[in-house]
Symmetry: C2
Subunit: 414 residues, 2 copies
């Protein structure tokens, strides 16, 4: 197995607010080639530490990727430290210098002298062009593997990874086909999902299975590795079909489309439209439904009615109904959905009313209780859900549940 | 200077989707004690690599914090690897075993045999109680410094950091006062902010300055370190006062309150209310204004009107006005804000209409053009803003700009 290690360089990555996101991107790219990342480091702009980190990484792993520290200033130590760790010299590259001088000419600026540091290459290294920045990357083979030096800014690093690093690595690796199968799932929690499908996926070492989780939204990806596409697909089928069966209609997409896109497409295909009337979600459902361009095809409008008076004035909910049942109730959720549908002339309307907390709630309907209404062409349905106590989470989960309720309805109304 | 190193343990942290967020939290806590984090590692569940990483870290840094890998399974190697790196034995702790047995009794479950692994301590280590999980932490002094073993789940780690680690570290560190001064800023971009205040803050090594950036939202924090509070405050004053002056009213908070909380408090204090009428922001302003509990004090409701017909039906915008000026125009933004104010009886109303793209736009008002209306007790104002081309960013920036427009108005209307 080929193993990779990533070293991110820069003192700013050792502050409480900065995350090394480059390594996540690089890991994803390497995984697709069948390479595992086995260790990651973040090192500040400190020469001795950096040299030691590079030395150990080269000793341990076949592929070592360094990111950052290729700028023109004294703080940018990656070139020097990597050269020293490899016991090689740094040599001036007239070719790289010419490229850089030309680059500065193109943007009508004079190259500062310190930029010349960026044109030094480690002895034996191949320069990797960087179309979006001044620092070229570097690639060199050692007796045990490959070392890459890449710039830190993601908009420079990402294209270089695609255009330079992957094409250099691919021929070094055993020929391998990677195929994936994705299930995007909503309507159950991460641990329930795992309890449901772990008995299947743990039986397989290939494909491997990863589960990504956001509030109310899960993504299961199977990765099959093989020497042929047909075999990889067969592996995906063997492990994936039973998972598909267990998950059933809770799978809302086998592509990487988010839920609101799937529901938008279902509405479009049926020439149907949707409106919302929102209380505790405060406009989040409308914001989700309009997140992508073209949503005016199916979205007719929304009312955010946050208290009883607004429910009366904006939606025409009878005062009596609110008095008899209170705002957080099945009849009010029903009336809100029906009013939103009627007032906007939509095919469907979603409503949400609930106690998002931390205050409010009754004995019957404590904080976390949410009623979701869906008015459709033939009838109005209302679902009552109990969530936990976290306000932000209740709002996100209720938003997701409302959009998913519409999805289920649309799947039946076809 | 006391230096710390963090090692996060777990193969799941080496996947493309998982970030080691614990280290950010720990870094923040250590920085407040005057300790810098100089290196971070992520190591998988691999015994040899882990032992070497711990050995090197102990050799390099006075404080070493290991997170994760304290679970009960075979994969959980942190205890064993740390013991071996330190050349110490792992010893059974009858006391910890009793605590764990009692814990399982409390939740009416029988303790599995494998959980007994969690009660072994490294020779000489002090157990750190973990009220939210089954794995106790461990603390030990070596000849050169301190080593902490902490559980990986953030809800276990965070309280242990506060209740165990910080109190243990504080007496070991030189007495030092850390004082901070925060400026939360909106209405200018990160590079403009930096161009404005860098000439001031770069003059000072103490306080240090960090800038955090989210779309339309910046946070500038000055950290002053000193042996006395008075001196730290004097340092903050010296560097902070000129920054405060340069930023002026663009500073919306000197606490860590987000913009919608500041505006909510300003509304509350004036017994005033706000409504919204949103087109391209699709409900995001309403969602922001209702994000925190108690927003019904000042929020009267919202209309999301995404096309011309909705603007007519829900808000009563005259068809003629839309025909003459089109929906993305100063007069329509004005009419939307005034209609939202009138229909909900609010003191203020915000409206947004614009081209969020990627399609739409005219020569006069290309994609990225947004009109923000604010109807108030005396008059209605409309601002025209041009943003870039990214749809999600336009929506976020317009949301922020609208709420900030209301803030400026409230500061004047007092």
């Amino acid at each position: 197995m080929i193993r990779a290690e990533i070293i991110a360089i820069g003192s700013e990555l050792l502050t409480p607010s900065r995350i090394d996101t480059n390594s996540l991107f690089i890991t994803g790219e390497l995984n697709r080639l069948g390479v595992d990342v086995v260790e990651k480091h973040v090192v500040g702009d400190e020469r001795a530490r950096l040299i030691e980190a590079v030395r150990i990484a080269i000793h341990h792993s076949e592929i070592v990727i360094l990111t950052g520290g290729l700028g023109p200033t004294e703080d940018d130590l990656t070139r020097e430290a990597a050269a020293e760790a490899l016991d090689r010299k740094l040599v001036r590259s007239p070719e790289q210098e010419e490229i850089l001088v030309r680059r500065f000419q193109q943007i009508n600026r004079k190259m500062a002298d310190i930029n010349r540091r960026q044109t030094f290459l480690i002895e034996g290294a191949k320069a990797l062009p960087n179309p979006y920045g001044t620092a070229p990357g570097q690639f060199l083979r050692t007796s045990t593997g490959s070392v890459f030096l890449l710039p830190g800014p993601p908009r420079e690093l990402k294209p270089m990874m695609h255009e330079q690093v992957i094409p250099l690595l691919r021929p070094m690796l055993p020929p391998q086909v990677i195929r994936t199968r994705v299930f995007r799932v909503t309507g159950l929690g991460e641990s329930d999902l795992d309890a449901l499908i772990a008995p299947v996926y743990t039986k397989f070492a290939n494909p491997t299975t990863t589960v990504l989780s956001a509030p109310g939204d899960l993504s299961v990806t199977l990765f099959a590795r093989s020497s042929s596409e047909a075999e990889a697909d067969a592996l995906l089928k063997e492990a994936g079909d039973p998972i598909a069966q267990l998950l059933g209609e809770r799978v809302y997409s086998n592509e990487d489309d988010p839920l609101e896109v799937v529901v938008g497409n279902l509405l479009r295909r049926r020439h149907a439209t949707v409106a919302t009337a929102e209380s505790c979600t405060g406009g989040l459902i409308a914001a989700r439904l309009t997140e992508h361009a073209g949503s005016s095809d199916f979205f007719t409008g929304s009312f955010v009615t946050y208290n009883d008076l607004q429910k009366q004035q904006l939606l025409g909910i009878p005062k009596d109904l609110l008095g008899t049942y209170t705002a957080v109730s099945e009849p009010v959720a029903r009336a809100m959905a029906e009013a939103a549908k009627k007032n906007t002339g939509s095919t469907y309307a979603l409503s949400v009313t609930g106690f998002a907390g931390p205050d409010g709630g009754t004995e019957e309907n404590p904080v976390g209780t949410v009623f979701i209404g869906l008015a459709g062409p033939r009838e109005t349905k209302v679902r009552r859900i109990r969530y936990g106590l976290d306000r932000a989470r209740i709002r996100l989960l209720a938003t997701q549940a409302a959009i998913d309720l519409l999805r289920h309805e649309l799947l039946q109304d076809c």
